[in-house]
Amino acid sequence: MLRYALKRLLSLILSLAVASVVIFAVIEIAPGDPASFMLGVNAQADTLAALRAELGLDVSKVQRYFNWVSGMLVGDFGTSYTYRTPVSQMIADRLWVSLPLALYALTLSTLIAFPAGIYAAARRGKPGDLAVMGATQLGVAVPNFWFAMMLVLIFAINLRWFNAGGFSGWDTGILAGLHSLTLPAIALALPQAAILARVMRSALLDILGEDFMRTARAKGLNPRQALWRHGVRNALIPVLTIIGLQFSFLLAGSIIIEQVFYLPGLGRLVFQAISARDLIVVESVVMLLVFAVITVNFLVDLAYAAVDPRLRSRT
């Protein structure tokens, strides 16, 4: 198990190194000099040179890559070209919204999907299954911003249970913060839950056809016991894969939802930075997201091994 974890860790570090080179190279290829963009077309040559030096643009590309990477390792992501504030501070502020929101949405989606998927699989072809399948079909088909608008209409405007948008901040207490993230979390979670429920159901149905499920029934387990004791854990591998993918998506892919609810999240930060050609912010956020995705994949790999003993003994 330890060797498996070490191997996965090694592959995580290598992936990060490769990703950093690729991200740096792509951003470098993009046309436009940030310094001249910031100062405008009429800037003096010596002012431009001074700014380039200040931004660290006056050294060789290789040197800049290493400055960037070594800075990130100690938490220094550089200075935003447009706001002139440390990028690390900007990202940290936004991360305090986006990370809790992603975790909140993922928790909701899992809490909805597991029971729904297991329920549908246990009643394959019966009305319960058809109802769940119909609901998930709808969940997959309807875009999440429409859900978001409906939620605002019902729970914020009509019932006045929640605010229609904005984030209260964590200073007023964890509950208040979670309260203001609830509607966006639900809007994000519903389509994900629909996908996850379908994956759970089909994974379980595959397992239900396995020989060892028949063995379990021959031992005297009733269908429900067989499903819970022998089915669910075996069905987890594909489900974990989807959960890992969904977390990565939720962390970065919630731009529209952040827009609908006026949330100061990572998605909006990237959106604004791209419009303003604030490449160092874009670079840093993309690197951070890559880090998050790779780390989540690493955790999913560890979870696979925890679920399936065959992976533990494989080297």
């Binding site: 060797r3 396995e210 020989d211 060892f212 028949r214 063995t215 379990a216 029934r217 021959a218 031992k219 005297g220 387990l221 009733n222 016991q225 004791r229 022998h230 854990r233 075996n234 679920v307 399936d308 003993p309 065959r310 003994s313 494989r314 080297t315």
Partner: protein, 530 residues
Amino acid sequence: MTLLQVKDLTLGIHGTNILSHINLSIAPGEIVAVTGESGSGKSMTALAVMQLLPNGARAEGSILLDGQEVLNRPEPEMCQLRGSSIGMVFQEPMTALNPVKTIGDQVMETILIHKAMPPAGARERAKEVLNRVGLPPDKFPLSRYPHELSGGQRQRVVIAMAIALRPRLLIADEPTTALDVTTQAQILDLLKGLVKEYDMGLLMITHDLAVVADLADQIVVMRQGKVVETGATGHLLEHMQHPYTRMLFDASGHKVTLPEPVSSTPLLEVTDVVREYRLPRHHLFAAPAQQRAVDHVSFTLNKGERLGLVGESGCGKSTLTRAILGLEQVQQGQILLDGQPVFAGHKPNLAVRRKMQVVFQDPYGSFNPRHRVARLITEPLHLLDHPPAGSERQDRIAEILTAVGLGPDDANKYVHEFSGGQRQRIAIARALIIRPALIVFDEAVSALDVSVRAQILDLLAELCAAYDLTYLFISHDLSVVRTITTRVMVMRAGKIVEQGETESVFADPQHGYTQKLIAAAPRLPELSIT
């Protein structure tokens, strides 16, 4: 007194009749074998006793276990019976165990689910039964996972689960079909011992008549959902009444006469071949260990000769076959066909490849279901420099289909329209169509019912006479190899341990392993034809 009494059992699934008027009974300590070919309903009979029938099944009649009706009993009561009064062992040990749970947990579950003992007692009982089935806890701790065990060992775990609560009745559905002969002999011995020790009734489902004759007290022969003949083993074997029973036994021991090989020019020359595989490293900086799958193998196959290769799973048969077919390069030694190497300059030698064809075991998985027969069997023609075209091609297709016992009209059908035996004929037609110098039969009749197997063996004998075939016949089934080959090699752990004329090797095996193998294979009794 009877333990299990099946009376007039009739079963339909979604209106299709599966079983009609089945009668059989089992006394405590008695072994009853239900035998028949695929589709005869023998497994359904077993599942009906367990009441684990597929959805849409409707059963009528009566199944009495210890005088109590089992049929259509409420599900919660059946759950109490299953595992405690009736245990069941299945065919496929590789998939019958949950891969993510330890063997200890799985054996204990049988005990705990019936609340028969507290957990500590269940643990002790699990150790006890695993020890009884030949998995002593000091060598096979309860914390082992199924993937750490071999097929035979897994089947022992399945048996341990089934007998943990000492059920009165044990049902075994083809329990040894997926196992090697020596493992099969051990598992059959184990079952026999358990029946005697616990005074259990054993309902054994098997297609293998040699196993039946060896093991059973009573035989029930089934065909198309009906019992055609039943009786005490000795009596039934002496006085078979039904022609189907007689046909089954004749087909099981079917013998063919092969024409004498004509020349003694070598066709396939295998010299000192070694094939190794790299194993995973034990730790990061250790040199990876090597597994030698084929270990200095040498033999010669002459033109017109029919050579058998037998051995148990993992002995290197398949690796050697792949090397001969030029699918993989060997590390050492040389393989020549007609004097030319099958592998030249790290690439398969196409000039040699067109002289070889192969017929595989699975007649269902070895065809593309979207192609018609004509396209399937003409596929090897692309190996030729000038493949036949137009009417010449049509003639070739018609000729070859006729040769394997099908008709020219079958060329326009799809494979799903054919039975398993017919598909194997198509596979042979595909191999034969380019008139190869050598055909490799890789377990080519192992998946077939005995009556179909007999027909395919007859076909091979006919083709030998008509086309002067040279083949390498790989099989774990000794009785088949004995009749369809003139010379045989016995392989074990990558080495050929014995080779010689088939009849003399079987009649007077020299190597200890060959003797063990032949002794372990169940044999059909010599039938006095009455």
